[in-house]
Symmetry: D3
Subunit: 159 residues, 6 copies
């Protein structure tokens, strides 16, 4: 049976970093996604990626967050991020935000991918904040991870 356990916690329930010194440098990839929920009209406006600055801004906010994850999540390690991809796609509930982070490191980059998605989404929400229909974001998940001792894992992205 699946015993629930927490990472980053010792036997007494105290938070601890995980020492990654003994882990191998391997090629790491993680993908994540979330959905910015908004009205159809606004979604079309933003989802075409047709040179609209807010999408460029949201992309850069996501890249910046991925590079700064270890400053934002207390127990994450500083990582040499090699690539961050942030993309936007039309989604029936609004705008799908997709991220992929790549590195050669001793630990996974899932948190970096989640941070990239979150801040790209928050940056879009910032552009969409209207008084009567505040935008929100939903369904932030890790889509896949690759590299490291625990191997590959993935789920499909249902748009």
């Amino acid at each position: 049976m699946n015993q629930p356990t927490l990472s980053h916690v010792d036997d007494d329930g105290r938070v601890v970093m995980v020492d990654v010194t003994g882990k191998e440098l391997t090629h790491r990839v993680a993908e994540a996604s979330c959905v910015v929920v908004t009205s159809h009209d606004v979604a079309s406006l933003t989802a075409n990626d047709g040179g609209l600055d807010p999408l460029a801004g949201a992309k850069l906010a996501g890249i910046h967050a991925a590079k700064n994850t270890s400053n934002l999540i207390p127990l994450c390690h500083p990582l040499a991020v090699h690539d961050v991809v942030v993309e936007f796609r039309h989604h029936e509930r609004g705008v799908l935000v997709y991220s992929r982070v790549v590195s050669i490191e001793r630990t996974g980059v899932e948190m970096e991918a989640l941070a990239a998605c979150s801040f790209a989404a928050l940056s879009l929400v910032n552009a969409l904040l209207l008084r009567d229909t505040p935008a929100s974001f939903e369904d932030l998940v890790v889509l896949s991870k690759k590299g490291g001792a625990s191997g590959e894992w993935g789920r499909s992205l249902t748009v």
Copy 2:
């Protein structure tokens, strides 16, 4: 009819900051929430707030994000944050994360409240990341805002 418009964009679709010089300093409050989706067992483990470090860590990650919102969301203004509250409650799908940000400023603190929720949630997700059931977070919304020319706005928190 509700014409979709974007804030922080000029008539040519270029991103711009909003000059807040002409706005009055008023008492601002914004609340936000999201849900960290996880199995019941893990939720009980974390939701009791009984001295478990990961919750303290997640709370501090949320406070840190609220204080740094202007560095994370490209067009947000640096604000003098006066208070950040982050709380965790049991939720049928896992753990509810609640945030409230308070300031006396020329612009609203909704983005600060959303950033606090997001990073408290991401920090919990980091503690919960298990290979077979990756935690996720959902339903990030602004619950209410108060202060400024546009007045109060709110929706109920359904747990």
Copy 3:
């Protein structure tokens, strides 16, 4: 006669911050500009501002630098930046970068305007870095300042 003096230095030549406690909160505006020198073809490519992401990215880099000036210039004060404008114009030597920073503060925002110009320009240079003709930037100046005890000052922008 105009005796050259340094600000931020005491009588012994030691660096010091300037205590701004006694200064009044006044409306401050500063403008700056510089020129990214590049070939005509590349300049046309970038200067039309026609939805090209690199310009949005450079604009956001400039805004980010203006908000972070006190972390980058050792003796600058942390300021509540109210607005940062970054614009690009065609220039005979390449691309003119223009910035304007606005605040209500006890000290001027000239350094913030210079930082905004510099990092917007560096971000463009990053997009333009070609092996054979490395882009450069030139003529970074304060164009004007307004507010504070020393009053207004300006020079014309010659494009």
Copy 4:
């Protein structure tokens, strides 16, 4: 003929990071310089490097900027900077600022050298800001680069 192209842009003109995973770790060196334009008297005051704090401050501002380039230029990678040299020399128009950045990395350190020069120069400008003759800086260029697939490149420093 030299077709102008932009780095960090895909075929649709969208900004993208460059994935450096496939590149080799090589010894990288880049040099840059710029000129802080100021009156002769002030230049003598600062250029002797004789224990005057503002020069130490400007040097440290340059080192700090080089270490933080990936936070300031949106598409730069976080790098393990191994050395940053910042030096000042007398120049006929004022003060010459020289920087050299060294690393063992998968990508070049030109942007780090440019950032070091820019912020050392801005920090000097901050010390020199006089109402009647605002200092400026000019001629920011990459002087040389070494390491990586594209090989060496250089131009002479004309003081």
Copy 5:
């Protein structure tokens, strides 16, 4: 009797920020000091402040830390620091580091003064780190505070 209590903790022992919205903006000053313990020879080398760069560097590290205290101490509020003074004096055990922070704020600047001292001292220690006699620092205390509802408080600096 003096019941020991903790600030920033609620009745259940959970960390909380203190909401400063209701407090008045008053003129705040705090002083702190500590001693960098080192051999007499090294102390003379550094304590004369005679244009030696390490002292300028340590001073700037202290100013930088004071401006960033809210990012370093989890429950501190972001403050508009108006002045930071860092000075070095000869001390029988080595070098005395003194700091003073000034602001007009709703909360005290004691933590900012302690942070300034700590990082000026750590920066000196970094310059002094010798294998056989590692420098240390001692006796970090708040010397005085002024402003706010709790009034003035002070102790003498015994050198």
Copy 6:
């Protein structure tokens, strides 16, 4: 005889970074400690580590500082920190703070260990700041270092 010398200073007394390019990547460990001086009652309150949030907060402040040392100490190199341990123990004068930092790097992690101790201690002091008995911290020292050309070094921790 032991000639006092400063690291990070050239022959003219100017600050310089140390180029670590030529040094080998080795396994680095450094330990540090300091004492937060406080009354016995408060010490018991905090030193049991029994789920009291302030200790979790102080631990995370220490970890954050270790990861950011190169931004706080001007001449430190950015390092890939692999593990940071922060622990609290009862001490006759109050609370002993212990830190250990681990990395595989070209340079030592002593400054990172000192920074972790300092900010964990400052964060505790922030929780303890009472008007009549301001807490302080004392005896910040490197306990041991391992790795690199200069070999091991240590002193005993006397509690």
